[in-house]
Symmetry: C4
């Protein structure tokens, strides 16, 4: 399905300041530096002027993304002035979430390693420490087999994207069986924060369960701690941005 | 509660040589390089002239801390000449330990990953090898729920700080359920050493328990080995400082 | 057996463009950067003009391989114009696979760490997520003891190589008990992709099995996902090549 | 006990070419780069002209060792022309092994992390793949408690060193309960190779035992594979040396 919209040219791109695009490029590099994405995975941001559009790189490893690779899409997943660039097959994860969730400004899709096992077993992921309090309670797992039978596991159409967005509902995170996960946020730094600490929580929960029965955050603690953390999302974001200049940026 | 003391200006800062502050800046960077802290966590040092004061960075990722970010606090956690800088919400961990423990010259608070599981299960951490002999016997776990019911998990007030310091008592280390841990020392290098090897011990103990029943250091061995190690705290400290110049310093 | 063909000079090397050799040198460095090989392991490519020949480095750590170290071999594992360079003892893994498998253009042999445990236990490796869909179903394990009794574990002769190639049959991957694994591909990037994600799958499967019963990809899902992935093999390859220039290349 | 021989000046140092000392400095840096040692641990080499002497750094983190830090010791562990430099407390590990084992030319002592758990449980380490074939069969574990009761765990005297050397007997490796391990070799590269792959084997064996019953190398396979590997010890050594110039050397 790749490239089907390459020349659609359905509309003009919406003029906008470049700050969000710069942050989106940084988010691509940060997610790679934090090992949330490898050669695969992607992160998008809703257009900062036109909420019916979003930005997402052309099909490319996140670490290599530059501002020139960022494409504008509408909420059907169609490229706006695509200029012949090949989009990600799974852009419908993003388009359908932006359609259903006006609160969401950024979406991360990854195959981060510690999360995969929780997608293929029946043990729910839950917040083991305050940094992952945003998880709230059990993290839902999307089973594409229930929706579409045997597939290539990818969210490669608007209808699969809509099914996933419906399943995600109002949650910050959902896992995808045999595939990966999605984290959303009300800003690029929040979505990145959630993708990073989702992975950390998976690692720590798996480790803790091997030691003994786990005393998770209660729903009340999770609610309070998530609110407190939201005041400090910029702290790691500033660190991660500073590190890009030192060792992660490949372009 | 962040920033409540920003303009308090309760007193003048105490003049002092800068060596301790330089070491404190290094400790911030070392703890990041050793993966004891990430974007969060903090390390303080008691003022080297005025024991009723201590130094701690403004609210910032440890890897980014410079001498200009170090603030002076009194033992109530009030900033001295804060100059409008935002302090860490959890500075009361530090202030209340310095109040109760005249032997303590430095305090590390972190969420180092291998330690978290031992805070949420009922298996006590114990010294598995001589490098962690300072742990002595079972490491205590602070349960904030017992003190304050449902919270955001943070030590965000003097009263919570006092409860934690009381719980820590005369120990070198205490874990915090669903949150992290605190390590103290009679010098910055000793506190950093303890924070690093607390994490190493957690990793090795978890691994060993999966292999079989563990033959831990006896209390007698722990006492003797801790004393021996205290003669050699400067060895890794010198290494860690040398490495900062090569690859860790971000400023 | 090393060096037995050093001066054989059985024939002239076949002229060819250097692109495949450049890619093969990159593959050596990439496999090291991805921790699939350490000081040991090797990767070869079939000659791009003469299908009865293949390229493989002289006996050297992969990270140190340059174009000058690449030797040409025939399908008996004899060096062509060897110039006195010492070949790998295990070049017969490569020669015998190229002989039996006209579809194979590249072969990776490694001791990548997460794979070793699946070679010495009776739990079969299976695809846990779409990135490893190429595994299909159970990954076969070659037992050299059944073929040759007590050995030094190495595929150090044409007959052992032929036995291994026969065992591999039409599969993309086979493990070797107490030794390592082999991944093949229809291109250098595909063979490298498979070697990398074989290791990732081993790590994730081991982790998932400790959490609970694993819901693997079905054969149908694996078939569809493998075909989809084959469209995107160049994405990580481009990333890995870009990284070489930044931090991995040692020559 | 540190420094007791500082000014002993019992004899003149023996003139010698510097090649062994250069290799010993490299070995210090390589063991750090390979995470076999951290701030602690040490590696020595027998004097290349006078077999009654050996070289070992003054008390220093291995990564910081330079040729000027290398001291000459006799087989009682006394410094020869010590020049006031402080020796390692545990130099008697080295002196007593060199005394009993004329075949040994180099000794590594480390606390490498994956090995520690096998020293404190009753599950013997055994070779899981050919790279660790030098282990032969079960790796012995030295229990200092049986020799000396409650201690600081250190081999801090000639008599403890002699007890350890007696226990090591003709083996290439022995673990020390609650402390670490020792690997010896007939050359610096071989001792370093063994220290590195001892750690790798520990990691892989622990992982494999969690998956199922392990099919270890038989004694016959171990014997043959160890002999084969000894032909290729220089391959990783050359790699490790090349990497020092790129990223590990701190001096």
């Amino acid at each position: 399905m790749d490239g089907e919209n390459e020349e659609s040219g359905i509309a003009m791109t919406t003029p906008s300041g470049s700050m969000t695009i710069d942050d989106l490029v940084d988010a691509n590099h940060i997610l790679y530096a934090q090992r949330v994405v490898d050669g695969y995975g992607h992160v998008s941001a809703r257009h900062d002027v036109n909420p019916g559009r979003f930005w997402l790189s052309r099909s490319l490893a996140p670490a290599l993304v530059t501002a020139d690779d960022i494409m504008e899409f509408d909420l059907d997943g169609n490229a706006v002035e695509g200029l012949g660039r090949r989009p990600y097959v799974e852009r419908f994860i993003h388009s359908e979430i932006y359609r259903r969730r006006p609160d969401v400004q950024a979406v991360v899709h990854s195959h981060s390693p510690a999360v995969i096992p929780f997608g293929v077993t029946r043990v729910p992921m839950r917040p083991i420490f305050h940094m992952a309090a945003f998880l709230g309670g059990n993290v839902p797992v999307f089973e594409i087999r229930d929706i579409a039978g045997a597939t290539d596991m990818l969210i490669s159409s608007a209808s699969l994207g809509a099914a996933f967005a419906l399943f995600l509902n109002d949650k910050p995170v959902a896992l995808m069986r045999g595939h990966g996960s999605v984290a959303v946020g009300n800003s690029i730094p929040q979505a990145v924060f959630r993708a990073v600490y989702l992975e950390v929580n998976a690692r720590l929960q798996a480790e803790a369960m091997r030691i003994g029965a786990v005393n998770f955050l209660t729903p009340g603690e999770a609610l309070l701690a998530a609110a407190a953390n939201d005041q400090h999302v910029s702290r790691p974001w500033e660190l991660w941005k500073r590190e890009l200049g030192k060792k992660t940026k490949l372009d």
